[in-house]
């Protein structure tokens, strides 16, 4: 599903001097896989995830998502592809403070120009599936961290993406809440969703079928 060839990401430091965040990254992720990316701080894990999520465009190399050659796409085409295929879960949830749970779930659908009736049906379904119907009118600040991340995951998958990217999804949660989220990921993966997560936790990495180790921007190890 994902194919990265010789992917590099750098930032200019001065005249013809660059700081490399990712170097010569080559990764293949099959459809339905659950991959964990690990590594110390500054290894380039989150950068890699944001490149996969098409939030970051300043990279070099080749990136194929399914049949699409992302490196050849224009920004608008990348945005369309992202909206069709990818969901993203953030470590800090990034729910919109001024919107209710219901409205937060509705937002990605509105950006995908879904009809109002379809949006209502999908949101209702998601609230039911995540058992948060009773919280639909609450604002993020009225929820616990675990509940907020639950909404974050629901929001990420509501548009039925094929690929779920998660950037340290349990980083701000205590262990029981973290387990709940990881169990949710496992179920989603079992239902066929491809997942790539960044984590510091060996335990959480173990939920995946494969772990990629990054250090100083290089892939140093791959465990299956």
């Amino acid at each position: 599903m994902i194919k990265l060839k010789n992917l590099e990401r750098n930032y200019p430091l001065g005249k013809e001097r660059f700081f490399y965040v990712l170097r010569d990254v080559n990764i293949d992720v099959e459809e339905g896989e659950f991959v964990s990316i690990m590594g110390p701080s500054g290894a380039g894990k989150s950068t890699l995830l944001h490149i996969l999520g098409m939030h970051d465009h300043g990279w070099h190399g080749e990136y194929f998502l399914g049949e699409a050659a992302v490196h050849h796409l224009k920004p608008k085409e990348r945005a369309t592809l992202r909206n069709e295929q990818i969901g993203f879960v953030f470590q800090q949830y990034h729910l919109l403070d001024d919107l209710t749970v219901y409205e937060n779930l509705d937002i990605p659908l509105s950006y995908r120009r879904y009809s109002a009736s379809r949006r209502a049906a999908l949101v209702a379904d998601m609230l039911d599936r995540f058992q948060i119907v009773g919280k639909k009118d609450l604002y993020p600040r009225q929820l616990s961290g675990g509940q907020q991340q639950l909404v974050g995951v629901a929001r990420a998958i509501i548009a039925e993406p094929k690929l779920l990217l998660a950037d340290e999804p349990t980083g701000n949660l205590h262990s029981s809440q973290g387990e709940e989220i990881m169990e949710l990921f496992r179920k989603l993966n079992e239902q066929g969703m491809t997942i790539v997560q960044v984590t510091h936790s060996e335990k959480n990495a173990a939920y995946g079928k494969r772990t990629i180790q990054l250090r100083d921007g290089w892939i140093v190890k791959e465990d299956r």
Partner: protein, 823 residues
């Protein structure tokens, strides 16, 4: 307090950009308000520069039966008022022009004919010599004059031995008995009347005036008076009403049309109709200052967000709410005082330049100055502004949520939502105020445009008018222009000579009332241009009427392009011996013979022994009296039959503007070397001058409205830009969730548009109210003119959206990666 001051100055030094923006905004607002206040102060607030000027009044007589206002006064009426016990002194004032002769070049001087008590009435004394003897009741014009400081210096080189020197005015000799101080102005309505150069005194009887003046011969244009001490204007008016009723009863034959004598504070007479436009200007510039304050308040609120942590730490260290408020208010006051100082400094530097824009006809123009009361006003405005724009940020700082502000490391706090609401409210207020100003300006511009494009009914293009005046000797027996028969050859010769001048295609003569739209000779027009009439076959009471009357030569109508509708124009051959004829305009014909043909109808002056005058022609109405009015009844008499002493020369053609005054002077003085030639002006300039006050109001309001619009645009830019900064993180999330650039544009513009529309709604309601207040300043435009409202509202929304667009563009370019790491 000293610590607060030091800290505040330090804070302002630390943000020079912010300080500069606030100081410039306040300098513009306070400077502009102070500039207009200095005009209001000089014109409306400051008492007239005469001792106990509150007791000075203008006396104005109306004849309600014929709807005649300011109809003048007769000598017997003056004597009645003088002896009424209501006034210390009453003096008719009669503005005239005179010919100062006896030197190389005869000059025209502005003369005020007054009662001998005039200077006692005003309680002023000459700087050199003396005034008139108030008890001198000798007949005729007293052969003594008082001259102005400017005439003394200009014509006599400031000669210290000026007293008892004689000058010749017309053919008569006058002895100079005094020189008025520099800066002394007569309390007149027009600039001409205020800048009098010579005062002469008379008791208004005896040659050249009638020996036995008649009560119903109101030949004195107006009068001023000093009330008895302790008498209010209302009490005086009440006693005057009783006196007027008694006189009407006693002399009922002289008052067929009623008689009402009104008292008006003399200052009102001088200020005239400039009060409302001036107050409108002050209100407009006040709004600009208020909008500036709102802008600064918004800036300070934004700054307060950035300083929330600093304030929280101060509170945590023990500072009280009052102390924090005091500190912030100190900063605000320092900013506004700096702004005020800068505004006044700019005003002092630009004073001369700015005064050029004030029309010359403006009352008390020479009294406009930056004096202590103006400086006090600037100081008060500075303090008030500082409090207005400082209070909201200070209150917010005082209500800070301590724990949250400390935890958020300066970014936001629980009160940041409230602060945002306050900022949005301020922007709505700012928009509403700006829209009110813009609509007021739009209405004035629309009104002025209509005035400029109105069909005048005459053609002012390529026409020059030049003035001269024939002598009016006190001894009428030596007057060589006493009758029409004596004056006719002079007129004929002048016209013959003018037609030979290079470029002249047509020439005509008339009296000053025949100069279209010339208001500078107001009193002369009252005196010579108004005509009390009675009509043949209408003998019943109320059959008299007062209309505007001009005397012109036959070529006048063609020269000005006035269209003849019926009948005929004057003939050159119609002399004094022929029956008198008149041409009237359509308004006159319709007013007095609504269902008949006016041709052949006869009327005459109410003066004794006046001949019947037959209407021989009817011309189309023209806006010769006022651009705003086309249907004022108008009579034209033949100058060959009805002579005039004050003459206007009209020349049409391809004229050399620079050379024509000298060419005309040469020709006039070739016929009579004692005549002055003055006042050369193109009719297009006269037309332009007649609109000068409307133009001034319009230009000023438009300038203020433009400033307000600019400030409002900056205001919305500031609010939206700040909103984008605060929401960068959120915008990043939205991008990450799939938002397109246009989605973000929609959010940002939508937020701005909501504020704009709420502001516009409030502003439109206020503008409807303001439009009603300024209704009588408008011509041809309704105060709720939908076109003006629509165009201004659209322009306003467009500019506001532009103000939103730039921050929106920034929002569209937010990099989600950067935004998501923002925290």
């Amino acid at each position: 307090m000293t610590a607060d001051l030091k800290f505040a100055l330090g804070q302002l030094r630390k943000s020079p950009g912010f300080t500069a923006i606030v100081v410039i905004t306040m300098a513009l607002g306070i400077g502009g308000t102070t500039a207009i206040f200095s005009v209001v102060d000089a014109s409306l607030l400051r008492p007239l520069p005469y001792p106990q000027s509150a007791r000075l009044v203008s006396i104005q007589a109306d004849l309600p039966g014929i709807d005649a206002h300011d109809a003048g006064m007769s000598e017997p009426e003056w004597q009645d008022l003088q002896g009424s016990g209501i006034f210390d002194y009453v003096s008719p004032t009669w503005f005239d022009e005179n010919n100062l002769t006896g030197s190389a070049q005869p000059a025209r001087v502005r003369l005020l004919l007054v009662a001998p008590n005039y200077f006692e009435l005003l309680s002023v004394k000459p700087q050199v010599g003396r005034g008139f003897d108030p008890h001198d009741h000798s007949p005729g014009i007293i052969p003594e004059i008082v001259i102005s400081d400017s005439l003394w210096k200009r014509s006599f080189g400031g000669d210290p031995h000026i007293l008892d020197k004689t000058v010749r005015m017309d053919t008569d000799l006058y002895r100079i008995i005094g020189v008025m101080p520099a800066g002394f102005d007569s309390p007149g309505r027009t600039a001409e009347e205020r800048n009098v150069e010579i005062w002469a005194a008379t008791s208004f009887y005896g040659p050249p005036l009638p020996d036995h003046p008649l009560r119903n011969r109101r030949n004195l244009p107006t009068a001023i008076a000093r009330l008895k001490p302790g008498l209010t204007i209302a009490a005086a008016q009440s006693r005057l009403d009783t006196l007027a009723a008694s006189l009407q009863k006693q002399f009922s034959g002289d008052y067929p049309d009623g008689w009402r004598v009104g008292l008006l504070p003399l200052k009102e007479r001088v200020v005239g109709n400039t009060r409302q436009p001036l107050l409108l200007l002050l209100a407009a510039v006040g709004l600009v200052l208020l909008i500036g304050c709102v802008n600064v308040a918004n800036l300070l609120l934004a700054r307060a967000s950035a300083r929330a942590r600093e304030m929280a730490i101060r509170r945590a260290l023990g500072a009280s709410q009052t102390r924090l408020m005091r500190q912030l208010l100190t900063e605000s006051l320092i900013l506004s005082l700096f702004g005020g100082c800068a505004g006044v400094a700019i005003l002092l530097l630009a004073q001369g330049f700015l005064l050029q824009f004030v029309p010359e006809s403006f009352p008390r123009l020479n009294e406009i100055s930056i004096n202590w009361s103006v400086l006090t006003f600037a100081l008060l405005m500075s303090i008030l502004s500082g409090v207005i724009f400082g209070v909201a940020p200070a209150l917010h700082a005082a209500r800070l949520d301590l724990s949250h502000a400390l935890n958020q490391e300066g970014r936001g706090s629980t009160s940041s939502g409230e602060r945002a609401r306050t900022r949005r409210t301020l922007v709505v207020i700012e928009f509403a105020l700006s829209l009110v100003l813009m609509i007021a300006a739009g209405l004035l511009v629309h009104s002025f445009w209509d005035l400029l494009n109105v069909r005048l009914g005459f053609n002012p293009q390529s026409v020059v008018s030049i003035r001269t005046r024939l002598p009016y000797p006190n001894d009428t027996s030596i007057d060589k222009y006493a009758t029409a028969a004596q004056e006719a050859p002079f007129i004929g010769e002048l016209l013959r000579r003018f037609r030979l001048l290079p470029g002249v295609e047509e020439a005509a003569l008339g009296d000053p009332a025949s100069i279209p739209l010339d208001q500078s000779q107001r009193d002369l027009n009252i005196l010579e241009g108004r005509f009390f009439l009675e009509f043949e076959g209408k003998q019943q009471s109320g059959a008299t009427s007062m209309v505007e009357r001009s005397r012109v030569t036959p070529g006048y109508f063609h020269l000005l392009g006035l269209s003849l509708l019926r009948g005929r124009l004057f003939n050159e051959s119609e002399s004094n011996s022929a029956p008198q004829v008149a041409i009237v305009n359509e308004a006159f014909a319709r007013t007095y013979w609504p269902n008949e043909d006016a041709i052949g109808k006869r009327f005459k002056s109410t003066r004794a022994n006046s001949p019947w005058i037959t209407i021989v022609g009817i011309i189309a109405n023209a806006r010769t009296q006022s651009v705003a009015q086309s249907d004022m009844p108008q009579i034209y008499l033949n100058l060959y039959q009805a002579p005039a002493k004050h003459l206007a020369i009209f020349l049409r053609g391809r004229l050399n503007q620079a050379a024509i005054p000298d060419q005309v002077r040469h020709q006039v003085q070739a016929v009579d070397p004692t005549l002055p030639v003055f006042g050369a002006q193109t009719l297009t300039q006269t037309l332009s001058d007649s609109l000068s006050q409307q133009r001034f109001s319009m230009q000023m309001i438009a300038l203020f409205a433009f400033t307000a619009l600019l400030l409002a645009a900056i205001g919305i830019y500031g609010v939206i830009a700040y909103m984008v900064t605060e929401r960068t993180h959120e915008i990043g999330i939205r991008f990450a969730l799939g938002a397109q650039r246009q989605d973000i544009l929609q959010i940002v513009i939508g937020q701005g548009l909501r504020l704009v529309l709420v502001g516009a709604g409030v502003g439109l309601i206020c503008a409807i109210i303001v439009g009603q207040i300024m209704a009588n300043l408008l011509y041809g435009v309704r105060p709720t003119d939908p076109l003006t409202f629509l165009i201004v509202a659209l322009l306003f929304v467009a500019v506001a959206l532009l103000g939103c667009y730039f921050p929106a563009r920034r929002a569209m370019n937010v990099d989600p990666i950067v935004a998501l790491r923002y925290e």
